[in-house]
Subunit: 389 residues, 2 copies
DNA sequence: CTTGGTTTGTTTAGTAGACAAACGAAGTTA
DNA sequence: TAACTTCGTTTGTCTACTAAACAAACCAAG
């Protein structure tokens, strides 16, 4: 019944290995001397740690840097090509995936529509899709270090999909089954959680520690980054902010509650309004707005208002630094934004409003795949630092 | 520009000291051999660590335990009397305080109404109140190790009161000024945050890692414990769940938003309804309910419904293990509870509902003082483990 | 083109602290 | 009483960090 990891010399080594590696990741290219100065570790210690990391193929020497009056430093860089990570976004109607290096930079990309019902199961399609993304020649020495899978539904802490409201998918142990199939760690999580990570690392929320990512698609999903890390509730799956009620006596939702936010502010809500003017898709509604169609503009303004109303509540509750709106609805950012900002200005508490920026996602519909791939790579680095790889 | 604490033998020593101390705190009385077995630390290491802690007065040997077939073990206990901590709850109309030992157990208690306007300032009263709580003979060897102050308003990360809606108090650097005055660390925070801690450690939420504490008084304040620790938003002050909107087109609130929860479910809301039946205080309204007064029962049911509506949203958003209702309204727990549970059952998502328990606070109006004192003591222990004391 | 000062990175010696094993003291059971 | 357990300490070994010394590499000024 070990309570915590007990401290011994090996722990020191692991800690310092992590510190050195992080230093290079943040400030590359970097010399041994610079690492020592930046971290407080002794020069000798840094030399030893760097030698280990070179031997493990995680760093490379990339030649000499500029002298600052004495011997030229040997510059070190992280070897992002020592392995690769796979990131997948499973949408209700599409599959999207990337192969990325250990830094999360995209090496290959693939997307395709989901096959019509009656054909192969979603799981079979997913496995085939991943196989196509795998590298022909596995990178040395680590090969594929992990797979991240964003799913459109409720996912528990073990990476099992429990509920997928907008698609035909039974509860499935996605992570476990893929781990068995491919023999590498699999991180399965809600697509919005990965979207939040993607934007935080590569997109509009760089370096932000308190972030709410609103994935406005058919329904509304959310990814919460609190204090720099993904928040999962007590059960391991994240808050369902789509079912935040904004009107306690409003229309009943299939979840049992009344006046749920996603009934007012999702793609579905937009399509319902759009039907009245004979318009059947978001793309069409965007086009009408571009042509100045007044009713279309009114619909976007209305959806934007409701988005803003919910976001104001989110700001009051979480006091985040940023709220990012992503997924399908972000294609109409231009027409939604004024209404969103108007409601947030009017409704959020002054103290919190001053802090929070409300923006649209920068990576568009790519936030989730990028985040998923990054998570897989990051998991590998965490294992390295923990001495498991 | 040191990035992190670098790993060296002293760090290991601190880590292991913390592990040993925690083992005793959780399982006392405990022998050295039992600590070794329970933590995985070597017997020799434990002996050395325990000797240090004995020398520092943090542990005592309390005689021999029962043999299990060999030499009798020497039992060790945490010396909670090595210092003491002060906890204060500043209410809008009262002051309440305790002196506690290092485990947070109450040694002395004091409460008094706030002086009428025109007399001494709140700060002056507070300082005098603390002075009365200080021990005549400071406990050896650490004396007063810290002060925790729960405040009825928005408090930032530095312990400054920014806004106190229900009382006459300018923005004040409470923590800094008291630290200067008393020369010990001061933790100032929102009263609801300490209430959450109090219930988590000593009350109805023992050991729960995801907790929302709803302090239902004149307004509604909340304390959020996420993943075992207090959540403070980006600005350092906690979410204002009282201004969670439950009806986007509802009545305007002074905060600028519409349909704020605390307009429906606070003491103030209850009093507004009660005025119609000529009733002027919560206590009176409780009494009427006890006598079976039907209109009074209806009012409690209504307030309970609104409480439940907000709590259902909170459950959907945070997916906590427990929601605790504390402060003044908890005196009517008996009449509120059915309505609260009814709405939560009807509105919270099935997945989350199964997880979350909704209860009333166990420590009554004492949650916050207890939590404040515990926080001060805990801060001391954290400093011990960090090697600063 | 030499000389002096600087910077980089390695080598060497010393130290803190954990662990394993052996041991004496104190108990229990047969 | 003898044999076996358990507790806690002592002793020696090992790991990994630090400080200091050092060699190599480099710049710049005379």
């Amino acid at each position: 019944m070990k309570s915590t990891t007990t401290g011994d010399p090996a722990l020191i080594r692991r800690i310092n290995t992590g510190i050195a590696l992080d230093a290079v990741l943040k400030g590359e290219p970097l010399s041994r001397a610079a690492i020592s100065a930046g971290t407080g570790l002794n020069k000798a210690t840094v030399s030893s740690l760097v030698q280990d990391l070179l031997d493990r193929g995680l760093l490379t020497e990339t030649g000499q840097g500029a002298s600052s009056g004495g011997r030229k430093p040997v510059m070190l860089e992280f070897r992002a090509s020592a392995g690769c990570a796979i990131g997948i976004d499973v949408g209700a109607t599409y599959l999207m995936g990337v192969r990325a290096d250990l830094r999360g930079e995209v090496l290959a990309e693939l997307r395709r529509p989901m096959e019509a019902a009656g054909g192969r199961s979603v799981m079979e399609q997913l496995i085939g899709f991943i196989e196509e993304l795998l590298p022909k020649q596995p990178p040395q020495p680590y090969g594929v270090v992990g797979i991240g899978i964003g799913l459109p539904g409720i996912v528990d802490g073990a990476g099992s999909l429990l509920l997928a409201p907008h698609m035909d998918w039974e509860p499935t142990e996605v992570a476990r089954r893929l781990e068995e199939r491919f023999g590498v760690p699999v991180h399965a999580d809600n697509e919005a959680n990965f979207g939040a990570q993607g934007e935080r690392i590569f997109g509009a929320a760089a370096g932000i520690r308190h972030l709410v990512y609103v994935s406005a698609g058919m329904g509304i999903g959310t990814g919460l980054v609190l204090d720099g890390q993904l928040y999962r509730g007590a059960s391991g799956f994240s808050g369902e902010l789509g079912h935040l009620s904004i009107q306690f006596d409003g229309p009943a939702c299939r979840c049992g509650n009344r006046g749920c936010w996603e009934r007012f502010a999702s793609e579905q809500a937009a399509l319902e309004s759009a039907a009245a003017i004979g318009c059947g898709s978001l793309e069409e509604l965007v086009q009408l707005a571009e042509q100045g169609h007044s009713e279309a503009l009114r619909i976007w303004d209305e959806i934007g208002s409701y988005l803003g109303i919910g976001i104001a509540t989110i700001i009051n509750v979480f006091n985040p630094e940023a709220v990012l709106i992503g997924s399908r609805l972000s294609m109409a950012a231009r027409w939604l934004e004024p209404a969103v900002q108007r409601e947030v200005q009017a409704r959020a508490l002054p103290f919190h409003r001053r802090q929070a920026r409300v923006r649209f996602a920068e990576l568009g519909d790519g936030s989730a795949v990028r985040g998923a791939a990054w998570q897989a790579a990051e998991g590998f680095l965490a294992r390295v630092k923990a001495g498991e790889a």
